[in-house]
Assembly symmetry: C2
Homo-oligomer: 470 residues x 2
Amino acid sequence: MTLSPATDAFAEGLHAVLPNAAFREMEPRFLEEPRGRWRGTGGLLLAPGSTGEVAAIVQACAAACVPILPYGGGTGLVGGQVSDALDAPVILSLDRMNRVRSVDPAENAMTVEAGVILQTVQEAAEAVDRLFPLSIASQGSARIGGILATNAGGVNVLRYGNARDLCLGLEAVMPDGSVLHGLSPLRKNNTGYDLRHLLIGAEGTLGIITAATLKLLPRPARTGAAMMVLRDAAAALELLNLARDRIGEGVSAFELIGGMGLTFLAETMPEVRLPIGQPDWSVLIDLGLGDDGDPEEALMGLFEAAAEAELVTDGVIAQSEAQRADFWTVRESIPAANRRIGAIASHDISLPLSALPRFIDEGRAALAELGAFRINCFGHVGDGNLHYNVFPPPGDSRAAHADRAAEITRTIHDLVHAHGGSVSAEHGIGRFKVGDLERYGDPTKLAAMRAIKAALDPAGIFNPGAVLRL
Amino acid sequence: MTLSPATDAFAEGLHAVLPNAAFREMEPRFLEEPRGRWRGTGGLLLAPGSTGEVAAIVQACAAACVPILPYGGGTGLVGGQVSDALDAPVILSLDRMNRVRSVDPAENAMTVEAGVILQTVQEAAEAVDRLFPLSIASQGSARIGGILATNAGGVNVLRYGNARDLCLGLEAVMPDGSVLHGLSPLRKNNTGYDLRHLLIGAEGTLGIITAATLKLLPRPARTGAAMMVLRDAAAALELLNLARDRIGEGVSAFELIGGMGLTFLAETMPEVRLPIGQPDWSVLIDLGLGDDGDPEEALMGLFEAAAEAELVTDGVIAQSEAQRADFWTVRESIPAANRRIGAIASHDISLPLSALPRFIDEGRAALAELGAFRINCFGHVGDGNLHYNVFPPPGDSRAAHADRAAEITRTIHDLVHAHGGSVSAEHGIGRFKVGDLERYGDPTKLAAMRAIKAALDPAGIFNPGAVLRL
């Protein structure tokens, strides 16, 4: 079906069903994405204040075949929020749907609208002595609707799962404008196909999430952290298994830090203190234990056992919450340092844990054949998820090597795929990785995805060009 | 589209693509289901030995519009495995696909074929010092394919989640005979729609699961259990929250036991010892802690705090693994005792935790208006999941009240729905609850389900009449 632009006449018609507050002047940020790889060309910016208003907009768009780009916090890294291929789409910002509808600590659940910012959710949970564990770098601006639409991950997936694992129920507007009423704190509900899990991760192509019931967890009574210097990258996995054997679910995060990231930090952000210098490979381990637990003791015991097994050569255990925060500052500053250096190509990949060491070696060798590139490999190694970023040789600019980006990415993604890994671990497909999905995805899966898209959104008005090719 | 029977000519044609071992004489068990509510009328029994053979069967059925009933362990309680409305369907038993393809403790994953029995999975995990935590009464005969197709629950959902939460990847044959290759141990993989979660819980109506990669977990180093006598049903939730605040994720199971269940046990299975007599309401709490934990101490501390808060009036803590097993024998014998008494109507329901006490009171009152029925209410209260079974007055037979079953179920299900609960917490829809899904399900959800079914299985050959009406 042919898509139509949101004309002045179309906008005029919407005034009959929407309050003035839902109409907004276009702002540049709605036409941009953080990687700056492309820009939207304009469109009709709408900011509904309620689920009913979202439904009214979708009904109007469905009737007129006007495409809709749902817009959350705008922090997505794969271009799911911006299209340069659509003529005057509706850009549907959820930022006015920002109510926390309920917080119920006894139920361990809260219900929030799609426009609520992640940090607000975390704080609302903390206010009732509960934990909402999802934690990502952009939590100060990412909104729950987008977080669920992209199934965000972050640093606590190892213990608590991805965004989908923290969502109990969804409210969404479907492409025909009907409302899916699926908000619920139920832990068990086997009544038909799980549309919640279908919409989560569908990046706004099958439904527009308007609200969600989220799972709350007990706040760990006692927390702790350590940085340990690894014998080599392969030791990370042995250390992880040792930690989980000794400490069980108490391991909240297990982050690999490559030496290049620390070099970049020292170069671009000298104010960040490096507690263990600049070793080739280190990990940041974060624990959350119950009242009876002693994180310092647990980390000391782990370190001693790991040193005995020759997995680690040095380490430092946080002696205070402030020092724990310092450790996390190191980890969380690495992406900013990367940006200051300027990557030629960035990769959000995951691998079977057993394949990680070999992948790291083979990736280095394969890139060495392409040139003297620098690699910063870091990330959520406990989940097999690496951020694998490739930089120009020292002294060179990113721009000087921009023409090599596609070749580098192909090399890395081919290698990931050969090892049974994923070319999008936590960022999603968006528009940047549609070709990757076609290249590496299972053909049966792609056929089923296209059939589902056509069945639920026959006119193709929801986020056209994201996940599946226009 | 009109479905066709599996004629002799159809079976003859299959001999060209299947080995003789895939053809079986029909046995009565493939035409029965545990509740005895209806019987299949026959059909062509096939037992493929490989994914390729499943695909060959499905391709032949798709070409001839022959319906397929996938058959796992046959333990489902909602008639998902048997149809009396189909003329000579293919009954596809997965029992020959019973290979454990790989077990990888370092990866915390194992890959098994659909016909592997749950207990075999548990034992294979234990053999490498890992835990596969799913635990249900029928684990000695239920097979992984059926367990995933129905998203089974059981006693450890509180800590470890439902079957879907323990599955990392799937291999399945789609209704056109193509194979979905989704086996993977990856923890993070955001590459398109999550077909795994769509097939899990779809009860064989969208795809036939042929193999799965399952998540393994650390085996708790130290386990313990207690039975505690509750002040009343409402105290169960306060005790649960107290337990989770004190012990965190260490609480593996939290099972409510109603007094009627213990009365039935004493009456029908006097050999089962009742450690705390026959109180109105009690709970069985099971812990799994790390090396540093002390389950007995944790349970004693919990009991003291709960007694202080007047939540519990008595309790006993297992002093040995044998005593812990005895506690579980009480809990696990209740369904058998129920069967010996003979329920008029059984309900597998879930409720928001906060609604549970009110539901229990209101359910009792509503049933009292219908007659002097006895209620046995027990189950996985930590998940809000109750098995709520209704029995004839003492001395009466189930048959004498069989005509009241529909009225009783309607009363209970209406009440569950009014409290925001689910009329199928863990058993699924099958054929028994298709009407309930239509009555209580969200219309938008039902429309989306029908659209997805039509898109993926346009001829309607996969388990016709299950989940969605024929």
